[in-house]
């Protein structure tokens, strides 16, 4: 209960929080902000719309202007649109000090192998093990298991191929890890046309 502050006078009158007339933008915006503050997960737009009977367009405008406000202010916290929802996070610039002082953990890194397997699954989902291995040219089972254990990948069904193999796809956690709002926000795959295009040193 530590973080919801009660106003003592209003406590006795449970109705006072809701006036029946139209609520003004400032007050709704504050409400959205409070909900975002109390949630551990990104909060989808639909949650606000359903819980407070707010018009979706209005909610979207209010949330976007909250994002802008925190962006312009450029303080210690930012509002971001991520994993199909909105979420307050600390500004990346303080990461090192926060880790040192309050001991927030550094996210476990990703190996090159794991990352490549994940990229293939992300762009080609739903994809079966054999297709992943064909693309990478190596056995990938261990990598896929590791990715599943980190909840970045999951089986999403079966493909109509001989043996009806399991097909894999990415999770919501994946979106969160990579700061994506939705799958279609993945950076475009750049076609590599010639070998010479990619000579790097």
């Amino acid at each position: 209960m530590a973080t919801i502050q009660d106003d003592v006078e209003e406590m006795n009158d449970p109705e006072s929080g809701q006036d029946d007339g139209q609520r003004d933008d400032v007050s709704i915006s504050g409400l959205l902000e409070a909900v975002l503050f109390l949630s551990n997960e990104p909060v989808p737009l639909a949650f606000f719309v359903n819980s407070f009977s707010i018009d979706p367009t209005q909610a979207k405008i209010l949330l976007d202007s909250l994002i802008d406000e925190y962006e312009d202010r450029d303080g210690g916290i930012k509002l971001q649109e991520i994993a199909k929802g909105y979420q307050f996070v600390t500004s990346p610039r303080h990461a090192d000090q926060l880790r040192r002082v309050i001991g927030v953990k550094k996210r476990e890194g990703m190996s090159k192998n794991m990352m490549e397997t994940l990229a293939i699954i992300a762009y080609k989902q739903p994809i079966v093990m054999a297709e992943i291995e064909e693309l990478r040219g190596v056995a990938c089972r261990t990598m896929v298991v590791k990715l599943m254990e980190r909840s970045l990948v999951k089986p999403v069904g079966r493909k109509e191929l001989p043996g009806r193999p399991l097909a894999y796809g990415t999770t919501n956690e994946f979106l969160r890890y990579f700061g994506l709002n939705k799958l279609s926000d993945l950076p475009k795959l750049s076609e590599i046309k010639e070998f010479s295009l990619d000579w790097e040193g």
Partner: protein, 254 residues
């Protein structure tokens, strides 16, 4: 799975100027190695021939072998693929009257390499995103009535299967009872494996099954192996080169 391999340097190939210094642990797999070799030979891209690349690739594998580095099967499979392409290119039918004609890389291999590179590049970009977002922290409210947005959080089929496996694992006594129904007992399978191990020290995983194992037999045998490993009767080894699991008698040191 080259990431665990030892680091070696190519010290041979004294072809002066661009004698390649390649580290095995730098390669994710044969495609990565192949790409690197082609890159090394970049003097003129159009002049890369399948035979040059094949030679270099094989030379590289030989070197690894010489230095006692384990070569994953994936690398060997690619070697045979290259040899196949090379021999195709040398077939008389494919020859052109020009004696200077050198067969280029087959288009399907080029396509494969380009696809591979496309995802490798994409993965690098994703990794940057990953790192950027690892620096943002969200609140972790310990408030009792936290708003749960998603009813279950995310539960996947993998979790479901794992949960089932956990139950089966922890309730083996009951599992056995059920298996009686199918007339395959875990204890029988344990005995079976033990008997085989009396004759030989090492068994390959597929050997412990009958010719056409039923699903139940696989599961039960699998559980028997788990049990034997847990009680330290056997040790399970999987060599990356071969990929098959080998079952060894456990040698008690102390």
């Amino acid at each position: 799975m080259s990431d665990t391999e030892e680091r070696i340097e190519q010290t041979e190939g004294e072809t002066a100027e661009n004698s390649p210094i390649l580290h095995i642990d730098n390669f994710d797999g044969p495609l990565d190695l192949l790409w690197e070799l082609i890159k090394k030979a970049k003097i003129d891209i159009t002049e890369i021939t399948i035979s040059t690349i094949t030679e270099q690739y094989l030379g590289y594998l030989k070197l690894m072998e010489k230095l006692n580095v384990r070569v994953a099967t994936d690398f060997i499979r690619m070697a045979s693929e290259l040899l196949f392409y090379k021999s195709c290119a040398l077939l008389p039918a494919a020859q052109i009257e020009d004696e200077y004609f050198v067969p280029p890389l087959p288009p399907e291999l080029v396509q494969k390499l380009l696809e591979f590179k496309k995802f490798q590049t994409a993965s690098r970009r994703l990794l940057e995103e990953f790192e950027a977002h690892a620096n943002r922290y969200a609140r972790e409210n310990i408030y009792e009535d936290i708003i749960e947005i998603d009813d279950f959080g995310e539960v996947s089929l993998f979790d479901l299967l794992k949960a089932f496996a956990d139950v089966m694992e922890s309730r083996k006594d009951i599992e056995e009872k059920e298996i009686v129904f199918d007339e395959i007992l875990v204890s029988d399978r344990i005995e079976h494996v033990r008997r085989m191990l009396e004759e030989r020290d090492v068994l390959h995983f597929p050997e412990i099954f009958s010719a056409k194992p039923s699903r139940m037999e696989i599961v039960v045998t699998f559980m028997a192996i788990l049990e034997l490993a847990k009680t330290r009767v056997v040790k399970l080894l999987q060599h990356k080169i071969f990929g098959t699991i080998r079952i060894m008698k456990y040698v008690h040191v102390q």
